[in-house]
């Protein structure tokens, strides 16, 4: 028995990490633990009003709506109204409270699960819809794992990327492609932080050299210099890179101050992926040890 199990795992990559059961989902106003096989299928980046759709291979699993309101709403009454609209006046479904959410999770499989809450600090009214009611039901665990994401430091975890950044930074551009995912965050001053993940690293012609990989996959085409090496999470080997940017051109290019670009790029051999985080800002505004804010999945 022992020898057969050894034989079964002989072909596997030795340092491949075990797949976690849950993954963090962080977006505007919310931070949740969702099943690890769920992925973001559709998103909106407007903090005032939007929707996030999650799904797995069988279809949609969760939809979250948010809207920032100026008047304090009554989430319970709103949820009762939605439930009444769905079930009709005859059927009554119980509404209970869990971790600050008013939730209606009917036993019937033909009704979606619904939950609603109001975050007084950010003024966000949140609705969660669980369209598919199947066993085992993860709704309670998802709602229990909720944390508001409106503090000084905010978590952004979606599309396989996971980073914690100061509140001033918000997603400005998202590229959720199958083998390369990136999110560019910007603050009101125009300073940017870009987090990118590249898969199938061993099959790329330039996958061995992180500096070349970064230079080929970045939007700006500026000379990049290597400045050092580091270990991410004390295990993942990486390099630090630097570049400078100025104004776009013409007079602006002559008088614009120089901004520093700093890049931390590292590889995760167990998952055959590479990550890099790129910060472009004036030197006095650069965040130190930015790579430590990134979690690898």
């Amino acid at each position: 028995m022992k020898s057969s199990s050894t034989a079964d795992t002989a072909g596997a990559v030795p340092d491949a990490p075990a797949a976690p059961a849950v993954a963090r989902l962080g977006w505007h106003h919310l931070l949740l633990d969702v099943p690890a096989d769920s992925e973001v299928l559709a998103y909106q980046a407007d903090p005032r009003k939007g929707r996030l759709v999650l799904g797995d291979r069988r279809g949609e699993t969760l939809q979250i709506f948010w809207r920032v309101t100026h008047r304090t709403p009554d989430p319970l009454r709103g949820l009762e109204r939605v439930v009444r609209a769905l079930t009709g006046d005859g059927a009554r479904e119980p509404i209970f409270t869990i971790n600050g959410w008013h939730a209606c999770l009917p036993e019937r499989d033909d009704l979606p699960g619904l939950a609603c809450r109001y975050e007084a600090r950010s003024g966000a009214l949140l609705y969660a819809v669980f369209p598919r009611r199947s066993h085992p039901r993860p709704e309670l665990a998802i709602l229990e794992s909720y944390h508001p994401n409106d503090g000084e430091e905010r978590a952004w975890a979606a599309f396989g990327l996971d980073v914690t950044l100061p509140a001033a930074f918000a997603p400005a551009a998202v590229r959720p492609f199958p083998l390369v995912q990136s999110i560019r965050f910007e603050n009101p001053r125009g300073e940017s932080i870009t987090l990118c993940r590249r898969s199938l690293l061993s099959h790329l012609p330039d996958g061995d050299d992180l500096a070349v990989l970064y230079a080929r996959n970045t939007e700006h085409k500026r000379p990049v210099s290597r400045t050092g090496i580091f270990l991410h999470d004390t295990v993942h080997p990486g390099v630090t890179l630097a570049y400078t940017t100025r104004g776009k051109g013409g007079l602006e290019g002559l008088i614009a101050p120089t901004w520093q670009g700093r890049v931390w790029a590292w590889r995760c051999p167990g998952t055959d992926r590479a990550y890099w985080i790129d910060q472009n800002a004036p030197e006095k505004h650069l965040l130190h040890e930015l790579q430590e804010r990134v979690r690898c999945r």
Binding site: E60, T69, V82, L114, V129, F177
Partner: protein, 175 residues
């Protein structure tokens, strides 16, 4: 039916959040499409000849000339086949499409080999499946029941070689 219910849920929530009724957008359901895709069968075209190499594969696809073109082929000694070189990853995917496994099973296998999630593996495979179908290297047999119909082979009809014109069109589209 599911779509109707989802639309009702979205409409009810948006109304509860203070939106006007006309702002409600219909929700697109992907379950049916993904399920239909994943139940499809992909196999190598019988007329294509594969030879695997350590760094990839070579595929030779015959060209069919019909009508006056067959005469032109004899007169001008036009080529009878097209040769494609596949990189290591494409060759690995083509090897997985053995005609016994559905697309869903191949996606799972590919994802497990390369530590990719389902959607990553599906996106990567579908990305190079399309040009290989257009070039007549692979065949896709869709299930009979599904959102787009099916029951027919997509790619070279019945595994017959593509015409020279179809080859040229496929080359232009995927260039």
């Amino acid at each position: 039916m599911k779509t109707d219910r989802q639309q009702i849920v979205n409409a009810a929530i948006r109304t509860a959040m203070g939106d006007r009724a006309e702002d409600v957008e219909p929700s697109r359901r992907m379950e049916d499409l993904i399920d239909w895709q994943m139940r499809s069968l992909v196999l190598r075209a019988p007329s294509a000849i594969f030879s695997l190499r350590p760094d990839g594969a070579t595929v030779v696809v015959p060209i069919a000339y019909r009508g006056w073109r067959s005469l032109a082929r004899c007169l001008f000694r036009l080529r009878r086949e097209r040769r494609y070189a596949l990189d290591r990853l494409s060759a690995e995917a083509v090897e997985l499409f053995d005609g016994r496994r559905t697309l869903g099973e191949v996606v799972d296998e590919f994802g497990a080999r390369h530590h990719l999630t389902f959607f990553e593996a599906r996106g990567a495979l579908l990305g190079f499946l399309h040009p290989l179908l257009r070039k007549g290297i692979l065949l896709l047999v869709a299930p009979r029941e599904g959102p787009l119909g099916g029951g027919a082979a997509l790619g070279p009809a019945g595994g017959e070689p593509l015409t020279e014109r179809a080859h040229r069109r496929a080359g232009k589209e995927t260039r």
